[in-house]
C-alpha cells in the first residue's frame, strides 16, 4: 500500500517539479517570481482544448501547436508588460506579473466561460498497468515521468553546451557583464519567458487531465508547485525537481492518512522551509568576491 502511495506521489510530484522548473527558470534570470505562470499555463491549456474540440485535429498536433502558442505568449508578456517598465524593481515586476495573471484569467473567462470542462487528454488517469506485483501505475503517471525526464535532459544539455544556454546563465549571473559581451539581454529574457511558458504549458495540460478545466484550475497547482520549488531552492533546477518529488510524496502519504488536511500540507511545508532554511534544501549560491 505504501509503495502505491509513494509511486503516485512521485508522479504528481514530478508534475509539480515540472511546473516548478518553469517558475525557477524565470526566477533564476531576473529574481522575479512569475505569478502569472499558472494562468499562462491555463490559457495555453484552453487553447489546446479549443484546437481539439473545435478543429478536431489529432492530439499530438494540438499539443505541438499549443506549445508554439505558449512560447509566443511567454515572449509576448515579457516584451509587452515587463520590458517597458521604467526603472524596474523586483517588487514592481512581480506586481506586473500579478496584473498579467488577472488579465489572463479575465480573458480566459470571457472567451471560454467559467463553467468546468473536461480536458480531452490522451493519457488517462483511469487506465492502469501493473508494473510490479501489487503496484499499479496509470498512463498519466508514466507520461509525466517520461516527459519530465526528457525535458530535464534537454534543459541540462541546453544550459551546459549550447551557446544560447550559456549566455542565459551568464545573463543570470551578471546582466551588465553580459551586455558588455555583446549579449542582447532583453532577447535573452524574452527567450527565457518563452521557454518557461512552454514547460509550464506542458505541466498545466497534465494538471488539467487530472482535474477539470476552468479559468481557476491552475491556482492550486501553481501554489503547490511554487511551494515545491521553494522547498528545493528556487535557483537549482535539480533542486526544484527534488523538491517537487518530496512534496508529492509527503502530500500523498499525508493526505491518505488525514484526507481533510491534504490541501494545506503544501503551505505548512512552505512556512516551515521559509522559517528553517529560506534558501531551500538544495540551493547553492555564489557570494561575490571583492
Amino acid at each position: 500500500m505504501i509503495e502505491q502511495l509513494v509511486v503516485e506521489g512521485l508522479a504528481i510530484g514530478a508534475c509539480y517539479g515540472l511546473f516548478g522548473i518553469a517558475v525557477a527558470i524565470i526566477y533564476k534570470t531576473s529574481e522575479v517570481v512569475n505569478f502569472a505562470q499558472g494562468e499562462m499555463g491555463m490559457v495555453a491549456t484552453f487553447v489546446a482544448f479549443h484546437i481539439l474540440t473545435v478543429y478536431h485535429v489529432p492530439f499530438w498536433l494540438a499539443f505541438v501547436l499549443t506549445l508554439l502558442f505558449a512560447a509566443a505568449l511567454g515572449a509576448l508578456i515579457q516584451t509587452c508588460f515587463l520590458r517597458p517598465a521604467k526603472d524596474p524593481t523586483v517588487l514592481g515586476l512581480i506586481i506586473i506579473t500579478l496584473g498579467a495573471e488577472m488579465l489572463l484569467m479575465g480573458l480566459a473567462g470571457w472567451k471560454w466561460g467559467a463553467e468546468q470542462k473536461d480536458f480531452p487528454f490522451i493519457l488517462s488517469v483511469q487506465k492502469t498497468r501493473e508494473i510490479a506485483p501489487g503496484l499499479e501505475l496509470n498512463e498519466w503517471s508514466m507520461g509525466v515521468f517520461v516527459l519530465s525526464a526528457v525535458i530535464m535532459l534537454i534543459l541540462f544539455l541546453f544550459f551546459r553546451y549550447s551557446r544560447l544556454g550559456i549566455a542565459m546563465r551568464a545573463t543570470q549571473q551578471n546582466v551588465n557583464a553580459a551586455k558588455v559581451m555583446g549579449i542582447k539581454v532583453e532577447r535573452v529574457f524574452a527567450i527565457t519567458w518563452a521557454m518557461s511558458s512552454v514547460i509550464g504549458a506542458v505541466a498545466a495540460m497534465f494538471f488539467a487531465a487530472r482535474s477539470v478545466l476552468d479559468p481557476n484550475f491552475m491556482m492550486e497547482p501553481f501554489m503547490r508547485a511554487f511551494a515545491a520549488a521553494v522547498l528545493g531552492g528556487l535557483t537549482s533546477i535539480p533542486g526544484v525537481v527534488a523538491g517537487g518529488l518530496i512534496m508529492g510524496i509527503v502530500e500523498n502519504v499525508f493526505g491518505y492518512r488525514w484526507p481533510e488536511w491534504k490541501p494545506i500540507v503544501a503551505f505548512v511545508v512552505i512556512v516551515l522551509i521559509l522559517t528553517l532554511k529560506p534558501s531551500g534544501l538544495f540551493a547553492k549560491h555564489f557570494v561575490k568576491k571583492v
Binding site: 551557446r163 551568464a170 551588465n176 558588455v180 559581451m181 555583446g182
Partner: protein, 256 residues
C-alpha cells in the same frame, strides 16, 4: 580612432561629467587618470552606453568615423570596442572556458575563435590550467586575467580597461601592465583608467588627468611626470617644506 566631444553625463540630478573631450589615436595606450569620483569610470560607462538610456545628455562620441553615442551596448561591442569592467565582473558560476567563450559571443567563425583562445592562453598560461574550474573560485589576479582574456575574445580594435590593478599586489600589477603592453603591440589600441598613476604613466603613450568631471591636463606621460602638481597629489613625491622645516598645511589643487 575614438573621439569624444563635449559629453555631459548625469546621474539623476547630479552632473558627473561636465562636458569632456578627448581623442584616442590608433595604436596608442591612453591613460585616464584621477582620484576617486573624478568621473573616469563614468566616462567609460558612457562610451559603452551602460548608464541610463538617455545618457550622455550632450556631446558626441565617434568611433572609426561613426557616431556611437546612441547605439546599444551590443552594437558597440560588434563595432570593435571591448570593455573590462571595474572589479572584474567575471561570471562566477561559469567555468573559465565558458567565460572566455562568452567573450566571443558576437562572433560566428569557429576557427578564428579557437585561434584566439590559444592566443589568450598564450598571454595567460594560468587560465589554461584552470579552464574547467568555476571562475568564482579563481584568485583576484586570475579573475582579472580572465576578464582581460574574455574582453580580447571579441577581437577588439579598442580595449578599455577600468582599473586593472584594483586589489592586486604590486608584482601582479606589473605583470598585468606588461601583458597590456603586449596586447597593444599586437595592434589593439588601449584606453586605461587608473588610480595607480605611477604605473599608468610608465606604460601609457598619452595621458589625461581628470578632476571633478573635467579633464584638467592632457599631455605625454614624461611631461606629466615632471609636473609639480601631479608629483605632489598623485605620485606623492614632493613634500613642500616651510622655512621652519616642518610640513606645511596641505596645498590646495590648482587645477581648474
Amino acid at each position: 580612432m575614438l573621439s569624444v566631444k563635449n559629453i555631459e553625463t548625469w546621474y539623476d540630478l547630479i552632473r558627473a561629467l561636465h562636458g569632456i573631450s578627448f581623442e584616442i589615436k590608433e595604436g596608442a595606450i591612453v591613460a585616464l587618470l584621477g582620484s576617486n569620483g573624478a568621473g573616469k569610470s563614468t566616462t567609460l560607462k558612457t562610451i559603452m552606453r551602460l548608464l541610463d538610456d538617455d545618457q550622455p545628455e550632450k556631446g558626441t562620441i565617434e568611433f572609426m568615423g561613426r557616431r556611437i553615442d546612441r547605439l546599444d551596448t551590443e552594437e558597440i561591442v560588434r563595432m570593435g570596442i571591448s570593455y573590462v569592467p571595474e572589479g572584474r565582473e567575471v561570471f562566477p558560476e561559469l567555468t573559465v572556458m565558458e567565460n572566455i567563450l562568452m567573450g566571443a559571443y558576437t562572433r560566428r567563425d569557429r576557427k578564428g575563435v579557437q585561434e584566439d583562445i590559444e592566443t589568450v592562453f598564450g598571454h595567460f598560461p594560468i587560465l589554461k590550467q584552470r579552464a574547467g574550474q568555476q571562475a568564482g573560485h579563481l584568485s583576484g589576479g586570475e579573475q582579472q586575467m580572465l576578464a582581460i582574456g574574455r574582453a580580447l575574445m571579441s577581437r577588439p580594435k579598442l580595449l578599455m580597461l577600468d582599473e586593472p590593478s584594483l586589489g592586486l599586489s604590486p608584482l601582479l600589477t606589473r605583470e598585468i601592465f606588461s601583458i597590456i603592453r603586449d596586447i597593444n603591440e599586437r595592434g589593439v589600441t588601449i584606453l586605461l583608467v587608473e588610480q595607480n598613476v605611477n604605473m599608468a604613466l610608465k606604460y601609457s603613450t598619452f595621458a589625461y588627468l581628470m578632476e571633478n568631471g573635467r579633464i584638467v591636463r592632457a599631455d605625454k606621460p614624461e611631461v606629466l611626470r615632471e609636473d609639480e602638481d601631479v608629483k605632489e597629489f598623485y605620485l606623492g613625491v614632493a613634500t613642500e617644506q616651510s622655512v621652519k622645516g616642518y610640513k606645511r598645511y596641505r596645498r590646495k589643487v590648482r587645477f581648474r
